[in-house]
Subunit: 225 residues, 2 copies
DNA sequence: TTTAAACTATGATATTTGTCATGTTTTTCG
DNA sequence: CGAAAAACATGACAAATATCATAGTTTAAA
C-alpha cells in the first residue's frame, strides 16, 4: 500500500508541512481512487466531505453555463489539492472536476484536513499562503480575460501547459489537450481555437504531430499581439 | 481617538475574531489616514508593510494594462481589509488601490496581523475562510467575464453595487460611479458602457438623475440577455 | 478491419464590441 | 460667475469573435 510520505518526500504535496504523526494519520484514513479520462470526480453544487490530492494525472475544474458551454477555470496536476476551498468555506462546490487522462487521487476526509488546520500552525499558514497564491492567480486570469485577445490567451495557455506539465524529449507538450479543451480554458469557441492554432503553425510559432504540440518559437509566442 | 472596538462592534471588520487584548494591541498601533477621491492608496508592485482596514468610503483595486486601460478587479467598502493577500503571501502587490470617494483607512502594521494569525486560531481560520470566499468570488468573476455579454455584466454590476452598498430613500444607488468606472469593472470601452446604460434607460430597466442610478425593474435587469 | 463517432479544419457570414469623431452636458475651480 | 475640463452621449465604421455549414482526418470500438 502506498503512503502519503512518498508524495510528501517528493514535494508533490499540498500537505508537506504536516508532522510525521499527522501524515501517518492522514495516510491511514485516506482512500485512493482511480479515474479514467472523462470521468467526473465531482459535479458543481455538491457538498464534499473531503479533499482530493492528485497522485497521478491531470484534471480540469470547469463551470457549465446555461447554453451548455463549459469554462475551464484551472488545471490540476500532481500534488495539488482539489476541493480544499469548498471544505474550508464549508460551501457546495461551484465547479465540476473532470479527469483529462488516467488519474489516481487520494481522498482525505474533511475532518482530517480541518483538524490539521486547527492544530498545526505551520500547515494552517501553508494553506493560507496557498489560498492567497490561488487568489492572485485568479485575479491575473481575470485580468487576462478582460485585457487580452483570444490569440494572446491561447498563446499564454500553451506556454502555461509547457511550463507546468513539461515537454517530452522531442519537445512536445507532455499533456495532450483537445482543441475543445484549449477553447474552454481560453474562453472562446472551439473553431476559433482551431483557427488560431493553425495560424500559429503557419507563422512557425508551434508545430504539431497528431494531437501533440511543440513550441517552436517561445519568444515570439510569448509576445504575440 | 477612535478605537478598533467600534468597528468590530459594528461588525464592519475583517478582524472581529480577535480577542479583546489583541484588539487593544491593534488599536494601539494602527494609524488612521484620510484620502480624497482619486487618491492612490498604493500602486501595483509595491511591498506593503501592513494592511488597510476601510473605516469609511470606497475604493477600487485595479490593474493597469500596457495600453493604459485599467481593469477594476474589486470594490472595497466598509470593514474590508486591503492588502491582506499580499501580506500573507509576502509578495508585492499585483494591483493598485484608488479611492473612489472620501475615505478613512486604518493602517495596521504587518507584524500585528501576522502575529495575530500565528497565535489566534479563530482569527487565522477566519482569514482562511475569507480568502476561500474571495477565491470563489474571483472564480465567479472569471466565469462571468468569459461567458456573459457586456450587457449582462453591466446589469450584474449595477445589481452588485445596489446590494453591497445600498440605495437611498428615493432608491438611487448610494455609490456614484462614473461610466468609466463601470466600464473598467465590466471590462469594456467607456463608450460601450454609456451606450448600454442608455439602452437600459430606454428599456425602463433603470432611470438616472445626474450621475445617480436607480433600478426600476430589478427582475428584468437581473435576467437581461 | 471496418464503421461510426469524435476531432480537426476552413470558408462564409452574422454578431458583438471597440475605435474614432463630434457634439452636448455637467462639474470644477480660478 | 464664467471658462476650462471632465463626463456623457451618439453616429459611423472597423475589428474581433461567434456561428453555421461542410468536409477531411483521426480515433475508438464492434
Amino acid at each position: 500500500m502506498s503512503s502519503c510520505k512518498q508524495c510528501i518526500a517528493r514535494q508533490l504535496n499540498g500537505m508537506n508541512t504536516l508532522t510525521k504523526e499527522e501524515i501517518k494519520q492522514v495516510s491511514a484514513c485516506k482512500t485512493t481512487r482511480k479515474y479514467k479520462k472523462g470521468d467526473i470526480i465531482f459535479y458543481e453544487n455538491e457538498m464534499l466531505n473531503g479533499v482530493y490530492c492528485v497522485r497521478e494525472g491531470l484534471c480540469k475544474l470547469v463551470k457549465l453555463s446555461a447554453n451548455g458551454k463549459e469554462q475551464t477555470i484551472k488545471l490540476m496536476g500532481k500534488g495539488e489539492l482539489i476541493g480544499q476551498r469548498s471544505i474550508i468555506s464549508n460551501e457546495r462546490t461551484n465547479l465540476s472536476a473532470i479527469a483529462l487522462n488516467t488519474m489516481e487521487l487520494c481522498f482525505v476526509p474533511k475532518e482530517e484536513i480541518i483538524s490539521a488546520i486547527k492544530t498545526n500552525r505551520d500547515f494552517s499558514f501553508d494553506v493560507l499562503q496557498n489560498l492567497a497564491q490561488g487568489l492572485r492567480e485568479a485575479e491575473d486570469d481575470l485580468i487576462n480575460m478582460a485585457q487580452k485577445t483570444v490569440r494572446q490567451r491561447l498563446a499564454a495557455t500553451i506556454i502555461y501547459v509547457s511550463k507546468n506539465f513539461g515537454v517530452d524529449k522531442e519537445g512536445y507538450l507532455k499533456v495532450h489537450l483537445s482543441r475543445e479543451d484549449y477553447a474552454s480554458i481560453v474562453g472562446t469557441a472551439t473553431e476559433s481555437a482551431i483557427r488560431i492554432l493553425s495560424q500559429f503553425k503557419k507563422e512557425g510559432l508551434i508545430s504539431t504531430f497528431g494531437k501533440k504540440i511543440k513550441i517552436e518559437n517561445f519568444k515570439v509566442l510569448e509576445g504575440v499581439e
